[in-house]
Symmetry: D2
Subunit: 429 residues, 4 copies
Amino acid sequence: MNGGISVAERDAVGLRRLFHAHPETAFTELWTSVAIAAELRRLGYRVRTGADAIDLSDVPALPGPRELARAADRARAWGADDDGLRAVRDGHTAVVAELDGGAPGPVTAVRIDIDALPLAESADPGHAPAREGFASRDPEAMHACGHDGHIAVGLELARRLAKGGFPGRIRLLFQPAEEGGRGARAMLGAGAVAAVDRLYALHLGVGLPVGEVAAGTCGFFANAKLRAVFTGRQAHAAHAPEEGRNALLAAAQAVLGLHALPRFAAADTRVNVGMLRAGTAPNIVAADAELRLELRATAGHVCDELERRARAVLDAAGAAHEVGVRTERIGAATTADCDPAAVRAIAAAARALPAVTRVHHAHRFGASDDATFLMRAVQEQGGQATYLVVGASSPAPHHSPAFDIDEACLGIAADVLERAIRTPEKEVP
Amino acid sequence: MNGGISVAERDAVGLRRLFHAHPETAFTELWTSVAIAAELRRLGYRVRTGADAIDLSDVPALPGPRELARAADRARAWGADDDGLRAVRDGHTAVVAELDGGAPGPVTAVRIDIDALPLAESADPGHAPAREGFASRDPEAMHACGHDGHIAVGLELARRLAKGGFPGRIRLLFQPAEEGGRGARAMLGAGAVAAVDRLYALHLGVGLPVGEVAAGTCGFFANAKLRAVFTGRQAHAAHAPEEGRNALLAAAQAVLGLHALPRFAAADTRVNVGMLRAGTAPNIVAADAELRLELRATAGHVCDELERRARAVLDAAGAAHEVGVRTERIGAATTADCDPAAVRAIAAAARALPAVTRVHHAHRFGASDDATFLMRAVQEQGGQATYLVVGASSPAPHHSPAFDIDEACLGIAADVLERAIRTPEKEVP
Amino acid sequence: MNGGISVAERDAVGLRRLFHAHPETAFTELWTSVAIAAELRRLGYRVRTGADAIDLSDVPALPGPRELARAADRARAWGADDDGLRAVRDGHTAVVAELDGGAPGPVTAVRIDIDALPLAESADPGHAPAREGFASRDPEAMHACGHDGHIAVGLELARRLAKGGFPGRIRLLFQPAEEGGRGARAMLGAGAVAAVDRLYALHLGVGLPVGEVAAGTCGFFANAKLRAVFTGRQAHAAHAPEEGRNALLAAAQAVLGLHALPRFAAADTRVNVGMLRAGTAPNIVAADAELRLELRATAGHVCDELERRARAVLDAAGAAHEVGVRTERIGAATTADCDPAAVRAIAAAARALPAVTRVHHAHRFGASDDATFLMRAVQEQGGQATYLVVGASSPAPHHSPAFDIDEACLGIAADVLERAIRTPEKEVP
Amino acid sequence: MNGGISVAERDAVGLRRLFHAHPETAFTELWTSVAIAAELRRLGYRVRTGADAIDLSDVPALPGPRELARAADRARAWGADDDGLRAVRDGHTAVVAELDGGAPGPVTAVRIDIDALPLAESADPGHAPAREGFASRDPEAMHACGHDGHIAVGLELARRLAKGGFPGRIRLLFQPAEEGGRGARAMLGAGAVAAVDRLYALHLGVGLPVGEVAAGTCGFFANAKLRAVFTGRQAHAAHAPEEGRNALLAAAQAVLGLHALPRFAAADTRVNVGMLRAGTAPNIVAADAELRLELRATAGHVCDELERRARAVLDAAGAAHEVGVRTERIGAATTADCDPAAVRAIAAAARALPAVTRVHHAHRFGASDDATFLMRAVQEQGGQATYLVVGASSPAPHHSPAFDIDEACLGIAADVLERAIRTPEKEVP
């Protein structure tokens, strides 16, 4: 099996490279989660997969049967076994693993996101994965946000804790579909943070150099991802253009209207139409168009207002051209605040490490992560959460074809988390 | 083999239904041309296929290896044999068939276009192919312009003439890729009209009811089909939107600028952006966009001017957003005039038929057809040409999912052409 | 007084130059109509002005009090007397003059439009009015459509007929506000064509050289002119951009949507947004915008459909930006056919003149004129009408700053009309 | 004279109402500066006006002769005397007044901006100026940013200091054209801050309630204001639309492209096209368009980058439609930091006042002010500067028709400034 010997024998760097070479996008992380689950079972964790790990009933825009079938073929080609694939089928790609530390203490969860992005990796020899031979084996996907490193840190941490000897209980949440903002809420629906007292959500990179650690994060963007489908009427572009109702034109007009949504004084905002598909041939008035966009704001109510206005723009673009428009949310994230106690615990662990040169308490995140839903859920049941960032000296921005991490970050991240988990709350300085 | 017994045993209506069920788009007419070539060989014609029938060296935007491989798989699944497929490989889907009539006379060519359109056929029970069980077997393609009927008429005519007994020589030109305007010029390159004295280009439908025949056509649109590729720079839509160069936005702005190109007093014009593909995910500033468009005008110089302006709009849309733009022609048609002698010959043949209730001499076409290139080539070598239309009482416009033909048109078309070919020039009234 | 000696003493060329130098736009033709009325009274015509000549009650978008006051000041500065100005106040700038010919016969009306355009005249020495010293004395207006010549022909004709000796009765309709399409319907409302048996509407130029006369015209565009007012909400562009509702942005989006309205296969069409005013200062989100546009089609129902779609585009542009939109018609023209009897009468008169080298029966007009409303009204009461064009060898297009006429056209036009009016119907060859 | 008795006899509230009723926009503050200069001379200040107060040689887009003549007529109608008007002619509307305190000490300058905005004031009875009878007497201008109050505070301060008895010297800078960002740099050119050690720039309102004072301000937006002029080619919209080059359409496309400029992660930004004028009539393809816009960013280099991209968008919009584009800067502001010593001095003065309930040290400004150029100039010559805000409980946003101030702010502002000026530096706590 893919995860079998090769996973077990690899160290954190080896794991990162293995997963880097096998990127899978949201809800198609089949090979990935089969490998993760196998390794965690080998280590003795209680592992939940399938519907026990994630509830997909309210998830919008899941991959269709064709895409899932292609993903299964690919995973099989990469060595995933059929038993493993059965367990994660239909997009059930979350893995939850739990272990008792053998001493009284809190339930601590660590959130590890596992999905890749639909973009082509750089083949430039200056790009380490290309040069070193562990670049993506799928020309249409890439781990361009460091989740490959997250998995490596998660499994490394699992190994270190596998023999127990820490207070309370550890729960590892390997989450699919962070990109797009759908996985966290679906895992909440399957009880991901039930009884959790403390949540650590990890991210590598985010602008920090290796050696710097942010024990807490601020400046999350609330996020709404939308899909809009325009339905017009086809016509021959020369014989009867007036018979058509041009969905492509309506979509193009919507794009301009959306990007012209106002900046807000009340919050920092973002608008991006990131995908557009319309029409089939130059001589046919296009009857169909689809666009995907996201709206972000550093305040939740501003994000809501942006979404309201974006829907008005979309509806109006349809109305202008007598084209129907249907808009649905396909993802979301919220804002969240890090709890001082959780920040202190990570900061103390980080400061104790010689490799850590600087510790931040409130790093500006400047993006979105649906871990915020998990953080809020833990906080609502009385627990504490923080979102920690471990510097990775990335040479190119997240989500770009040349994104990479300095692998020294892997050990630091595992060290920080292990130490924070092993240190009893009352001993945190 | 697909063409084997089933083609040979079917009458014109049966042939039309067979080809209707097996639509293949431009340069992937594999099953289609294999079937046509086999039948023509069976009938005793000298048949040219592959590079002997068509020269693809200057053809833009041919289907890529993946699309051709899928087309071959589909053709095989539909029964095409490997020998046949080898002959038409790499997009060489034209078939040229020739036969001597056994008496002195001119070389007469008949142009039969064979490609389908990339659109989904109506499943409405009011749509005869759906109701009668011969609807398209490919959910993404449809014979929505009557070329299925053209093939049926072409093969029926081939049968009737197979025993000879007519003046001169007949050459049947089964042409791929009329939609998009690429096949005719490519066949010219392989000598399609060499030595041709008279060309008949046939179209069914075009707004006429069954029983009416247009012996000549006017109002052709010159046509330029363009593909524009925008190349920007990818970026994370929240972290660093200013690092991106938004190809999707540039393409959307181009769409509006193109559709706002002025109307001309000097000619009737058309503009249509019929396809747009851009970006991959809502949280990535899109680095790539492609659009396909066409420009038409009832005067060639106006079409040239429209193309010039369209390229300015495309370049400027890129410049506005610092995105590169590459624009190339992917198809063209020109205008053409029908020759009185050729019109008279068809008109005389039509008037002689009891089923023909009305004969037009100059039907307004209002669209484009790259048969105009063949017509011009024949005229330049001293021959005559006409573009004849045989009414088909279509219930829905060409290129729409409910397009259909009244099959009574098939016999009329074959009768008109047979009679015109059999009648010596000097006996035309 | 302006009309006094100077008008009376000038010949047709002198009159044309006088009126050319004093252009006044729609419903501000104060100096113009005072001069016309004075001259016609001097010649002995029964003259109607004010509310007896035109009913403004349903006319949209009349000039406001400030503009009318400015126009009166200008007219006074140009020499108009107060009595005359009182008669034409509030936009009542039509003049209707009638005279009996002294013999039995039909009531013949001649339509003469008198308004200028809001554009700056060319100062190029190659432009005759600039070179010869009779260019516009108002930097914001110009007779760029030949109406100065129409007035000259109308007054020259009035003089020639002043002594009677022709069958029936002549009625001269000096009409304001042809540009914009509002004057003709308003004059109809005051009985302009009551009892009229025959209507001649004259135009100079329209692409014909001097010496050619079109006795009839085809290809009128039906026309709808609209004004759209957008009302948003003002805001400080830095402090609170989100508080604004951007009327300027909505208007700009409407402009693109309108120019992207489809071409029609069913008719030749035109779309033009010709004026846009929005906002006040760069640091204020604009709360107000106004645009003026026109839609044309060679078929009335297509013009109606274009107007319907244009209103949808306008409403949607407002909806996209939460800006109110109010759209109203500010002008219109329809299509009309010329009656053969009227065409024959003009053609016969033209052919009889040595200066006329060629006579057309159905010149393609390719524009709009609200004379079509008068023509239809005459036809509905059983009369006949034609729209005649007298060639003027214009060196630049109508409505352009260098438009001019070859003044030889003036005598030809007067000759044609005089002869047609003097010739009894039964003597027309 | 206007400034004569009425100004001299009015208290701060009376002054504010007087200036509120007589708003004048950038560089047309004729009545305003005549009144200010007269009062300051009456009080014994050394007063500089005309070219001694401001250098207009590099100022873009000054009002033209017609607008200046209209402004002079209005000022005369409001009571300005001809001598006063001569002194401020051609846009020289700055007033600089200086007085020695009679004791050793620094040169302290106070910046008072005096211009109004081109917008119509609310007539709602809920709006105090409308209710109390001191609303704007010009329907097209309004003091909607509190500069009327600034003038009142400036003159009140001038009176209190007129008898001397303070350390150093006071210089009052009454600055025109703050809106649009042109006055400050022009005054710098005439030596406005020569020898100044300390600069206080005052603003009322800015979101603070009466009783709160901000001794320092942060979050200035750097600002670039642009005017773009599009020059196309006129044509008749029906006869020959293709002959036109549509400047209105190009401008509309530019508007959408500009509002779609990306948000930046590196700084908060603003984009606003606030004015657009294009074309003359619906039936003429518009040859001319002008738009005015502004770009802002909380970092100067981002503002520069935004301007660079905006120019690319403008040029490209012209190129798309073959229309010429000329873009020029018509105003600018920069960012600036307040100096701690200056902030402390104002804070100490404010805290000493019973009417002041709260003192801020770094109020977020969120807009632009060209006082930043004065601040930087003072800092570059070794002085200190701060931008203080005195709360005014405004019921509506700055630049909106219902903007107003609670007049209690006037006394507080005068008190704070007087006390800060009278307190020797070494006594500031």
